[in-house]
């Protein structure tokens, strides 16, 4: 019934008016088709120009790596034959810790360099290994404030200024690959404890991790 009515209404309309209506409809349809594009453009733009934070995912070492590597190295150190063979009555080892040496292609700020070794030392202290194995940890006194700040520690360790018998060092290296597809960094972090009297490496271990990111770096 409605269809019939529609036809009945349309028939008397002149050709000129019919063309007018078709043109109007075409314009309206085009405008309607454009609207989503324009609206979409505005929607796309809005969050971006309203200062949305850009996402960052790099191949660099993060704080989680600091925790993981020092946990594993602390465990390895504590379970090494050189340490396991010691008791609280053994001659005291005074171990000087040095900051790690950065041979990666990532910037590692000074406080982070100290934090890697500093946290290792802190784990030993917490685990009472130092007491049980007669170990004393020191840093170059002038560097203590950097570690203290990073570890939120106050005061100065009592043995800080004693002459060391051993040296604990760390060296971080990386193999970096970059391409149009992305970037990858394979890290090798090596720690070693050296007897300063003999030059002997009494403990050594390393921690490895690979990070990769997909996408152009230089776009």
């Amino acid at each position: 019934m409605e269809l019939s009515w529609s036809i009945v209404v349309d028939r008397p309309v002149s050709l000129a008016v019919e063309a007018h209506i078709r043109t109007r409809r075409a314009v309206m349809a085009t405008c309607l088709r454009l609207l989503p594009i324009v609206a979409g453009g505005l929607l796309l733009t809005s969050p971006l120009v309203s200062c949305a934070p850009p996402k960052a995912s790099t191949t660099f070492l993060q704080s989680v790596d600091l925790v993981d590597s020092t946990e594993k190295m602390a465990r390895s150190f504590a379970q090494s034959p050189a340490i396991m063979s010691r008791t609280y009555a053994s001659p005291r080892w005074i171990i000087s810790i040095d900051k790690i040496v950065n041979h990666t292609n990532q910037i590692i700020p000074e406080n982070e360099k100290w934090a890697y070794i500093g946290r290792l030392r802190a784990r030993m202290t917490q685990a009472r290994i130092s007491e049980q194995r007669s170990l004393v940890w020191i840093v170059p006194p002038e560097k203590w404030p950097i570690i203290a700040e990073e570890l939120r520690s106050t005061g100065e360790p009592p043995d800080l200024r004693r002459p060391p018998t051993h040296l604990l060092t760390g060296q971080f290296s990386a193999l970096t690959n970059t391409s149009g597809e992305g970037r990858s960094d394979a890290y090798l972090c090596t720690y070693e404890l050296v007897d300063l009297a003999t030059g002997e490496v009494v403990w050594q271990d390393s921690w490895e991790v690979k990070r990769s990111a997909v996408g152009k770096t230089y776009d």
Binding site: V49, T104, Q106
Partner: protein, 540 residues
């Protein structure tokens, strides 16, 4: 019918205008950066680095599409000012983001449809390489050679080479004819960034990492004129490493149809050797190690801008195509054709308006960079000048490092278009500080003297040796500064409810911070060699 077409055209035009106006309004209302921040740039080129930093600090902390650009600006201003903490933080942020893969990956659609400005600014490849160089330079000045090497290594990425005598415009024309050209028409070539190789080699040599020999070789292979410099560096026959940015770098502008093609234009008229005199004797006339203008104008060091040109071409095509369709439709009395044509015009106008090149660039880039190793052996007066451009910079009582531990110093000279302030050539120290002894009989500036050294027991004893503050103890000295609301250290104000910003500015320059910039930096020279008015204490 003609009137009707006009009516339709008018309505579509209104829709287009409204759409464009909406876009513009959206951009304007959201409070993001405008393309050209004049104030910090003007301040930077007046050697007023503190003013530039004041403006840039909050911008650098805002996470928007200019975050890398603003952090680079802040980092460079702070480095020139001799403030390593702020510089390290800002350049570190830039370094991290520049090394991030796919930062703009999910923004392509927005860039195509609207405007490249919605992409996170990462700069042209040459700007990225320089950003890594400046991080390297900063760590060199801090004596952290391992980090200097690490930062420089990132600057040595490969480049896309489309052949000799290629310009941005030629590239665009070829790309317009051949859609595959930008993806397949290039060869990936090794970088020719000799400065990057030099910094990597110096850092490797000084930090014990391997590879310095090959890196020095690479620098000389790229630029044989560096042979003398490299020999000095290889043999470690230097105790001082000068890293000098000179002049105003090139400006990025839009050219061609719809200003769609980006081009870098030279701004520095005066160039030449960096002349260095030590205690009145000319010891060096060093040529530029890096010609930044040449890099900027080399297509290998520029982005491909394929999306931009595609947009421009599409916008133009749609505009003309739409106009033709409208005309034909009107002539044939075809409403559908008219509608489609008008729609295309609207879209074309929208895209055409968005086709202009993104001309954001790092305005603090120099025209050229000098890397000069020197063997001085003793303290003395160092004088630097590039031709007669901008007057000399004199560093009285300059203290070199040693051949085992050389001292790197970063300096920013603006060139002939910038008025050289008096302090640049001043030789009389006005204020004792952390790098100097307390002049005999002097007092802290806040107590009527001229000394602005950080309070300490040693400093107090020095005042007392000169017959001053005899009945004071260390705590009294600290209290005197605290009573005036002075923060010890740059940016160290941390009291609740107190704006920390003024503490980045020295008390001698109207701020609330007491600190000593890095020795022989421009900030140090400006603050310590400029006369100042007497301290005005807070009302009790």
């Amino acid at each position: 019918m003609t009137e009707f077409v006009r009516g339709c055209a008018s309505r579509v035009a209104r829709l287009s205008c409204l759409s464009l106006a909406s876009v513009v309004a959206t951009w304007g209302a959201t409070g993001c950066e405008s393309q050209h921040s004049v104030d910090p740039i003007g301040a930077y080129y007046r050697y007023d680095f503190p003013a530039a930093r004041d403006v840039l600090r909050p911008k650098a902390a805002t996470r928007n599409d200019d975050i890398i650009l603003n952090n680079l600006r802040l980092g460079l201003a702070a480095m020139a000012d001799g403030e390593p903490r702020e510089s390290e933080r800002a350049l570190g942020k830039s370094f991290e983001l520049l090394s991030t893969a796919g930062l703009n990956a999910d923004r392509t659609t927005a860039a195509v449809l609207l405007y490249d400005g919605v992409r996170v600014w990462k700069g042209e490849p040459f700007e990225q390489a320089l950003a890594f160089y400046w991080s390297s330079a900063l760590y060199a000045t801090l004596g952290q050679w391992d980090n200097a090497r690490a930062a420089a290594a990132n600057a040595l990425f490969r480049l896309t080479d489309f052949g000799r005598d290629m310009s941005q415009e030629k590239l665009a024309r070829k790309a317009a004819r051949d859609e595959e050209f930008l993806d397949t028409g290039y060869t990936a070539v090794d970088t020719d960034f000799a400065l990057g190789f030099l910094m990597q080699a110096i850092g490797a040599d000084r930090s014990g990492a391997g590879g310095s020999k090959e890196q020095f070789d690479a620098a000389v292979r790229i630029d044989p004129a560096l042979q003398g410099t490299v020999e000095k560096l290889r043999s470690r026959d230097y105790d001082t490493l000068l890293l000098v940015d000179f002049g105003r770098g090139p400006q990025k502008v839009g050219t061609g149809p719809d200003n769609a093609i980006a081009e870098f234009r030279s701004r520095e008229r005066r160039r030449g050797s960096l002349n260095i005199a030590f205690d009145g004797i000319q010891i060096e006339a060093a040529g530029p190690t890096c010609d930044v203008e040449r890099m900027a104008q080399d297509h290998r060091w520029n982005n491909l801008e394929d999306v931009r040109r595609a947009k421009s071409a599409l916008g133009t095509l749609l505009t003309y195509g739409g106009a033709i369709a409208t005309g034909v439709g009107a002539y044939n009395d075809s409403g559908a054709a008219v509608g489609a044509g008008l729609g295309a015009i609207a879209l074309g106008l929208l895209l055409k308006a968005a086709a202009a090149a993104d001309t954001r660039h790092l305005e603090f880039t120099p025209a050229c960079i000098y890397l000069v190793p020197l063997r001085l052996d003793r303290p003395g007066e160092l004088r630097l000048e590039v031709g007669a451009a901008g007057g000399p910079l004199i560093l009285p009582n300059f203290r070199p490092g040693t051949t085992q531990a050389p001292r790197a110093v970063y300096l920013r000279l603006h060139g002939g278009d910038t008025f050289a302030p008096d302090w640049m050539s001043a030789i009389a120290l006005q204020h004792g500080n952390d790098h100097t002894e307390v002049p005999a009989g002097d007092l802290p500036w806040i107590l009527g003297g001229g000394d602005v050294g950080t309070p300490s027991r040693a400093r107090l004893e020095a005042y007392q040796r000169g017959g001053q503050l005899l009945d004071w103890n260390e705590r009294d000295l600290f209290r005197a500064y605290a009573a005036q609301g002075i923060a010890l250290g740059a940016g160290m104000e941390n009291r609740e409810g107190v704006d920390p910003a003024p503490s980045w500015r020295h008390i001698l320059e109207g701020g609330t911070g007491l600190f000593t910039p890095m020795a022989d930096s421009l900030g140090y020279k400006r603050i310590m060699y400029s006369p100042s008015a007497a301290f005005q204490p807070l009302a009790p």
